[in-house]
């Protein structure tokens, strides 16, 4: 079992959206197709209210700061005609020591339609999903998964390469702190469903301890061979914990900069989940590069999340 090949379903009920590892290819494909449907109607037909979630209120329970993901969920909910509420951790009873379960139970009792959970610990959305009857959406759990990011990224990739089918045979390199990356776990699992392979690039300290998966310790070794360079955000506070790596050395070996990016394969693209540390994992040149799909990732993240919300809360089966 690795970050790559674990696709078995863990029997989690269909009421929630928790991890790519627990979804079938069909389910993921349906979500991506639905996202494309929203994207078309949004940009071509100018639709701004899809009406599917009328009367429903989605609440976010974020134990970790994230403006982007939360706003993306809010935007998605509102485009679907629903309403969005925040549970403010800092000023709530959580700060007074209320248990996770008690907090979650309150949200259900307040009558929300679904809860979007982000937490610094792995597995929290799974725990909440077991305790509640309403749908739970994982908006990132520790270093485990960030499945809504992966749906949005599949939308972006299929748009760029023509279709989901076109992902078959593509090579994706994840560069950076793979061991602690929920994005790498979710996105590598998602692209694997459609036949793309992944390689993980970083210093040994940043790769999972059990490396039953292709790893490379030198970016220059693979940069000319991959179709997608997925640059992970360097969490500088984590770098400091590592003790054995310093930032300058990391930048020298793993930064995607102007010179390095010239070695990329023709037609290759760069992805980044944001927010970018310009000057660390990418330089200023790359941050403005046309090959960088980050703006599309943000845009498509909204449509991906609309598809997720619709599949859990929408009245009808999605197309």
């Amino acid at each position: 079992m690795t970050v790559l090949d674990d696709r078995r379903c863990r029997g989690v009920s269909g009421k929630d959206f928790l991890a790519i590892a627990e979804l079938t290819k069909d389910k993921v494909q349906t979500l991506v197709e639905q996202a494309h449907f929203y994207q078309r109607r949004f940009s071509k037909e100018g639709v701004r209210d899809f009406g599917e979630l009328k009367g429903q209120v989605v609440v976010s329970l974020f134990y970790e700061n994230s403006t982007r993901t939360r706003m993306s969920f809010e935007r998605a909910t509102k485009l679907l005609g629903g309403d969005f509420a925040y549970f403010d951790i800092a000023s709530s009873s959580v700060a007074k020591g209320e248990s996770l379960r008690d907090t979650a139970t309150v949200l259900e009792a307040l009558g929300f339609s679904a809860v979007v959970v982000r937490h610094y610990s792995e597995g929290v959305s799974h725990q909440v999903a077991k305790w509640l009857d309403i749908p739970v959406i994982n908006a990132g759990d520790g270093c485990h998964e960030h499945p809504s990011q992966a749906i949005g990224d599949l939308v972006t990739l299929s748009e760029r390469f023509g279709s989901l089918k076109a992902l078959d045979g593509l090579k994706v390199a994840f560069v950076g702190d793979v061991a602690h990356s929920r994005v790498a776990r979710s996105v590598s699992r998602a692209v694997a469903l459609f036949g793309a392979s992944s390689v993980f690039v970083g210093p040994p300290e940043m790769l999972p301890p059990f490396r039953n998966m292709p790893v490379v310790y030198d970016l220059d070794e693979v940069i000319g061979e991959v179709d997608v360079l997925y640059m992970l955000r360097v969490q500088q506070e984590r770098l400091l914990e590592r003790e054995t790596i310093d930032l300058a050395s990391y930048v020298r070996r793993f930064q995607l900069n102007q010179i390095r990016s010239a070695k990329m394969r023709q037609g290759g693209v760069i992805m980044h989940p944001g927010p970018m540390n310009v000057g660390v994992e990418v330089d200023a040149y790359v941050s403005k590069s046309l090959e960088l799909l980050a703006p599309a990732q943000v845009r498509n993240g909204v449509f991906g999340r609309m598809a997720i919300l619709s599949s859990l809360l929408g009245g009808e089966e999605v197309a």
């Binding site: 079992m1 690795t2 970050v3 674990d6 863990r10 590892a21 248990s99 996770l100 379960r101 008690d102 937490h119 610094y120 610990s121 792995e122 597995g123 929290v124 799974h126 725990q127 520790g142 270093c143 485990h144 998964e145 061991a179 602690h180 990356s181 929920r182 776990r185 999972p208 301890p209 059990f210 490396r211 039953n212």
Partner: protein
């Protein structure tokens, strides 16, 4: 008190025999004998009879953590698990590092028929910096010393404690785990932790300390007890130490024999335990080593945590699971049902079950008693016996648990084996699987 109609454990196997138990002695009863008038008779109904269990590794939570367990709930859980005697760890609040507290606790536990031997910590406040006054504590009666919950990091202190253990005739029990290697870890470091992104506790965090302690004891020859061993490296080190004549005793837990780290896939915090549940490969190796007599005792590491503490994230929830009430079932299930090829077998050979049951009586009753007595001279005050059924299968319900805390990994899991009766001297504590309230408090 007579126990009739059972198959009695004779140290090796089982023979049909009746037993007379009193406060100060036991004897086999001849075929022709009839019980004297007024003798209480327990009908074993063809089940197995053996010495009641002894746990060298219980967290009583008294004092200071009575939201998780009280002495009253603890002894009831122990009784239902077939235990007559247990050693209560010192990681309480405050830590048991003083003569006064040791004496208070010893006095307060004395009211129960299940005996509780209070351990003392090895270092003051379990901070690892300064030894407790082992001599005075020993004079007050303490014979078991452990910083369990934490390792004794300082090799020099550990060596000193081992020296005292030899001189005083007490046990020093180590929670072998390098603090730096295990730092921040939540579960076993392995394929599953890599898959889940959960930070790991590697097996070598344990083995390096086991290696250190055995090496220290090569010369010192103290009474080193290595707790809850869980690594391939530890197994190798124990083999080597045994052949090199280095003294030690060792413990394995029921959960490390039965469960593996894939349980964490559901992020159920009841599986968060320290040392962590290991890979299936290591679990099997532990089971083989257990059968091969490498571990001396089975210890439960019964660690109650109140519900609100376990209903936190996998990172924040405390380590530990409750194990007293289910120890017999978990261990017999591990031995009989969890080995390669045995999974799902409905028909299990009687001789295989009896062999496993004999191992359980040796490791859960005879050996812990023997170690305690041979090192410290302390032994259970009154003889105690259990009647067990190693074959019946049932699924544990949360409502079956009498511990104040419900953090059992076995809830909803079908396990083999049950404890039918527990007799301590003339007290019946458990009869047909049910607690007998009058038996809990020691009449004398």
């Amino acid at each position: 008190m007579w126990i009739r109609g059972g198959k009695l454990f004779d140290g090796e196997g089982f023979k049909e025999s009746d037993l007379a138990v009193s406060q100060d002695r036991i004897r086999k009863v001849g075929d022709q004998e009839t019980p004297p008038l007024g003798t209480r008779v327990i009908d074993a109904g063809g089940r197995y009879v053996g010495p009641a269990f002894v746990d060298l590794h219980t967290h009583s939570r008294t004092p200071g953590k009575d939201g998780s367990e009280t002495a009253d709930t603890l002894v009831r859980a122990a009784a239902l698990g077939g235990y007559c005697f247990m050693v209560a760890m010192a990681n309480t609040d405050p830590v048991v590092d003083s003569v006064d507290l040791y004496k208070d606790l010893t006095r307060s536990f004395a009211r129960y028929s299940v005996e509780v031997l209070q351990a003392a910590s090895v270092t003051k406040r379990r901070e690892g910096n300064e030894l407790v006054d082992m001599v005075s504590l020993h004079e007050a009666g303490a014979v078991f010393f452990s910083d369990d919950g934490d390792v004794i990091s300082d090799a020099r202190l550990m060596k000193k404690a081992l020296e005292y253990s030899r001189r005083l005739g007490v046990i020093v029990a180590e929670h072998a785990q390098d603090e730096r290697l295990s730092y921040g870890g939540v579960m076993n470091e392995g394929e599953i932790s890599s898959e889940l992104g959960v930070s790991g506790i590697p097996e070598d965090a344990e083995s390096v300390v086991v290696a250190r302690d055995l090496e220290l004891n090569r010369v010192v020859k103290g009474n080193l007890h290595l707790m809850h061993l869980s690594s391939l490296g530890s197994i190798e080190l124990l083999r080597h130490a045994r052949s090199a004549g280095i003294p030690f005793s060792s413990e394995v837990t029921p959960h490390h024999l039965l469960l593996n780290d894939s349980e964490l896939r559901e992020f159920n915090t009841n599986y968060k335990v320290n040392p962590p549940l290991r890979s299936e490969q290591t679990r099997r190796a532990l089971l083989r080593a257990f059968r091969a007599d490498l571990f001396d005792v089975v210890g439960t590491d019964h660690a109650p945590h109140a519900r609100h503490l376990k209903e936190r994230s996998i990172r924040e929830a405390p380590f530990g699971l409750i194990g007293l009430q289910s120890a017999f079932s978990a261990t017999i299930s591990a031995l009989v049902d969890s080995e390669e090829g045995d999974m799902g077998n409905t028909e299990v050979d009687t001789s295989f079950i009896e062999e496993s049951l004999a191992l359980i009586f040796r490791k859960m009753a005879v050996a812990p008693q023997r170690i305690l007595e041979s090192v410290t001279g302390v032994k259970a005050k009154v003889p105690a016996y259990v009647v067990v059924d190693p074959s019946s299968k049932s699924s544990l319900q949360e409502s079956d648990l009498v511990s104040m805390s419900k953090n059992s990994p076995y809830i909803g899991r079908e396990l083999r084996g049950s404890v039918a009766s527990l007799v301590i001297g003339e007290n019946v504590l458990v009869d047909e699987g049910r607690l007998v309230e009058e038996g809990i408090i020691n009449a004398r």
